[in-house]
Amino acid sequence: MGLSLDRLALGGTRVLVAEAPGARVVRAAVERAALGRGWGLASSPAQAGVLVVCGAPQQRLQEAVDRVWDQLPGPRARVGVLVPQDAAPALERAAGHLADRAEQRRDADARGAGPGAGGEEGDDGGHGDDGDMSDMGMAPAGVPLAGGDEDRDGLEMDVLQVPLGPVLPAWPAGLVLRCALHGDVVASAEVEVLAGSGPGGGSAASRAADGAARLLALAGWDDAAAAARRARDALLDGDDARAGHVLEGLRRRVARSRALRWQLRGLGRLDGAALAEHGLPGRLGGDVHDRLLALLDAAAGDPRYTGEGDPDSAAAADAAAADAAVVAALPALVAGLDLAAARLVVASLDPEPVPERRVARG
């Protein structure tokens, strides 16, 4: 009885994916393997039974991943995947750990009963500096009160310091956006990229399909996001014919959806002047809806997208420079937007973060 219930419960496992920069292909393989097993993808640590670390995070990203690991309620399992071929076996290993009652009991006994071992607020940032430290010392349970500030409409609002990333669903790998929130409006943000490495690779087309899948998932259109993921997997398999077929139908559905246009129209609009100011490539012009269609075109092999994963070519250097420019421009682009809009704008720009030093507030 207990054992069959365990087996049933195993089928309902949710997987939280932590991705190091450069491990996009690994994450794609992990997502595919997880969904293939009937496991869903977790959106937060509280939901997850398995933490899959894609690629090799370096020190600070590793610390963040460790903090997220502390937030998994248990029964829990943690596996690392360095190459796409290892995704399915790694999940099989994780299933073994979850099914091992004795091991789970030892793990539970070794942890305290209290909240996340770090003694921090359990948000998904995996970072310690919640709350505004400038406030005087009223801090029940170590969480300081928020400071106040004038908001967008000139009303006094609480300011919350909330880091977005580095472990967050549908979020660029290794990116941390430290936001000062007025309610749910991003007043200002600073950006940082935590270092890590992955096998790289993956064609520009598959990367674009992956970006489109993330954007559609954030827009709350699960079926379209699933189609984009299928196209991405076909591209990674080298099955261009099937990918083209899926993308054709998806492009038609997306372009036809008035509800989607209503949601994305006018968000994060970049005209020529804005592109020049931030040094962004022309393909990122227009609003979020335009960029979504551009991503789908790029996935279908549109020549506007260049810079295949060949590190020696000039095009690849251009692509890396463009990614760096996008990351540097993010604080300016999300300031004044609410969280939902900010997430959509970041996903539509779909940067591949390149580790560098912190840049100033936008």
Partner: protein, 195 residues
């Protein structure tokens, strides 16, 4: 009455139980440690009052008390939190001030009201409740007091709109320019119908 009479004893117990809940939740409003708890303790108190009204056969009034009060408390909670800056969910705090004066006033008021309730010679009941209290209430609202309703509603709506307009620094001239001709409007975040 919407309850069968053979349930008389159970209804009595339920009524007094709800009365105790209403008073206890009312007390809790001033004893708890967070704005959210205070707000929703008040909501619980009102829900108990609404349920008690259901028990005495005032279906419509009881349900509207629950409906309106839960909605109001949900919105009021937002304002309470916003104005009091209560981020950690459980922040030690006090909902009362000027304790001694308030205690004297409260005790005095209670004595006056209780004395009135006990000493006034209440008249015998002459009428009988309407067979359909919902319809009776509707008739009263839509016939004899209709004029009052027609006057009060627009005044209340105008008050709300005016209050918001005064509170928000941005006005239509900020949105639409000095000649009110700018299209689309200049909003920090555009709305849903492209005004």
């Amino acid at each position: 009455m919407s309850v069968p009479t053979d349930l008389g004893a159970a209804v009595g117990v339920a009524f007094w139980g709800l009365a105790v809940v209403a008073v206890a939740a009312g007390v809790a409003v001033f004893r708890v440690d967070s704005m959210a708890r205070a707000t929703y303790a008040l909501a619980v108190s009102f829900v108990a009052v609404g349920a008690a009204l259901l028990l005495v056969g005032l279906d419509y009034v009881g349900l509207v008390v629950v409906l309106m009060m839960v909605m109001e408390m949900a919105v009021m909670g937002v304002y309470m939190v916003m104005l009091m800056g209560m981020n950690p969910a459980l922040m030690p705090m006090s909902m009362v001030h000027s304790g001694r004066r308030a205690a004297v006033l409260a005790a005095g008021t209670f004595v006056v009201l209780a004395a009135g309730a006990l000493l006034v010679p209440w008249p015998e009941r002459r009428g009988a409740p309407a067979p359909d209290t919902v319809a009776a209430l509707g008739t009263a609202l839509m016939e004899s007091t209709m004029l009052v309703m027609l006057v009060v509603s627009p005044v209340m709506v105008a008050t709300i709109v005016a209050g918001v307009a005064l509170a928000v620094p941005r006005g239509r001239y900020d949105r639409l320019g000095d000649d009110l001709r700018r299209r689309p409007a200049d909003d920090p975040q555009p709305g849903g119908v492209g005004r």
